[in-house]
Amino acid sequence: MAGLELRGIRKDYGSTAVLKGIDLSIADGEFVVFVGPSGCGKSTLLRVIAGLETVTAGDIRIDGAEVTQTAASDRGLAMVFQSYALYPHMTVHQNMSFALENMGIAKAEISSRVERAARMLRLTDYLQRRPAALSGGQRQRVAIGRAIVRDPKIFLFDEPLSNLDAELRVATRKELAALHAEIGGTMIYVTHDQVEAMTLADRIVVLNGGRIEQIGSPLELYNRPANLFVAGFIGSPRMNLLPTELVREETAGPAATLGIRPEHVEPCAEVDADLTVRVDLVEQLGGETFLYTSADTGGPNGLPLTIRCDGQSRLTRGDLLPVRLRRDHLHRFDATGLACRPDPILARSPS
């Protein structure tokens, strides 16, 4: 296993800059997730690390060794593709042993490694099947097995769960977390699904428009977003962003925008309320309820405000609801969109 260092990585396609200077260090054994909206450059960055794309500028180092110009096959990395990219004409065993044959490893050693990986991934009964005879989840496990047998320096995952149904995605996510705990390899994982990012990552790298917006642990990003983009991107439903005028002056401070997560907006007595909102939509999930509301700002459209309540709610569309914003969970952002520090979360945060 190995660490990775990226310095000033740029990638241009003609006049379009896809990566605009990426600096990142990933420690040995770390599970890092690249997350961001479509077109933010996360897959391109992964492919650059893999060696499937060349860089326009910058350095890539694996375990301190410069590999920027090294071919993908010589970097010692393994990649799990979104589409699995299994060899359709080969059996599961052949798929998993193909790379080892390329390396010239002895047959006995190949069989031993393949069988070990197959046991780990519960694929032993399917070794003689072809990919077409496997389910989506099994194919994904074969793709992971193909990576494991190579004992690579770094595992690269390009949205590996996006082709699976919701139930299988949750199950495979757990398996991936268990796998990382078991083999302890350095893993870089690309996804646009923030639940995957939050549950799998040691650290999350939030990308936007070819730049890194913030790097941190999942809870750091959730509790202390560095800017409005991260605040809006991490968390579902997304953080409420409010103009400071809506809140009593003593809480707003010097900020231009206030942010508050849906779970930190509380229904309260009218006398304690910061705002009174009108309920537009009620989403009952059983264990929790999301209220999509709007606050009257005097304009043609109300200001949207999402509220998360524990349990179930009897509110219906059109109801008026006085709410209070929890002061200790307010996030403040200046006029440029950057977080104002220190803020209450910063003061409270154990990290």
Partner: protein, 343 residues
Amino acid sequence: MTDTMRSHGEPARGPSAAAAAVTTGGANALMRLTDPPMRAVQRLIGAARMPYVFLLPNLVFFGLFVFLPIGINIVFSVTGGTALFPAERPYVGAEHYARLLDCGSYLEAASCREDLFWRGVGNTLTFTVFQMVAMVLFSLITALVLNRPIRGRGFFRAVYFFPVLLSPVVVALIWKWILQRDGLLNAVLTTAGGEKILFFVDPGWAMFWSVFVSVWAHMGFYTLILLAGLQAIPRDVYEAAEMDGTRPWRVFHRITLPLLWPNLLVVLVLVLIRSVQVFDEVFVLTGGGPGTATMMVVQYIYTTAFANQVQNFGLAGAASVLLGVVLFVLTLIQLFLTRRRAS
């Protein structure tokens, strides 16, 4: 249409709307014209039999120009004489077939009673083997090159396909002009200080150029089939192979070739069928010569039936039937392979 427009309160405007109105109006008029007789036919035979009414025109066409000639050909093959009308031809049974198949050794045309037929078979076999190898090899290489991101790829794809659009006779005449004694190629050779080569006098050269011209003319079609197959191989499979550290030759051998195999099989069988049928290009190019060095089976049939002083329709018919059986078997193989590929 007018009613619809009125109901929406928005009349159609502009030339495209006017053209659409004219087209729709024409279609409506045609429907009004054909509707009553169609309804009458349907009342007469029932809705379940209507598909056969629509199939009838093509069925008549095929019956007249394909099935009937096949039937007549079979009748000719078992009758003798020089008369054209089957009723005037005496029945001879399998005599023509026996004559065609009467050989001391099938490997030696001279030992056969109908030695020209077997020369044609031998030449066709030689042509088929060389053409298949050359066609598949060059089509594959061209497809592999055209599948890469080379400069001017679209132009080259068109260039390789253009000869397919030409008539075989035109192709043969162009190459005859290049290859004849005082043709372009010999002009180039003599200008470069070499000597003229009599391509159509030497049997080896004549067969070589027959194969070459045929490959040149049809390669574009097979290249297209293989290119489609190559483009159907997912890019990420190659990327996975790259990540797996696979060397280029092994990528071709272990990834490309197996995944392209269904397309290659179709190409192989199609080339085989067309090679067995070859006539026009080679006939115009070499006339079957020198001597009978490039005379193919189909040319034998043509000559026997139409070009000889004594027109032996019966013998030609029998040879046609034998060739037809071979082609039928090859077509069955092709259908089997295509269906297996589709499934």
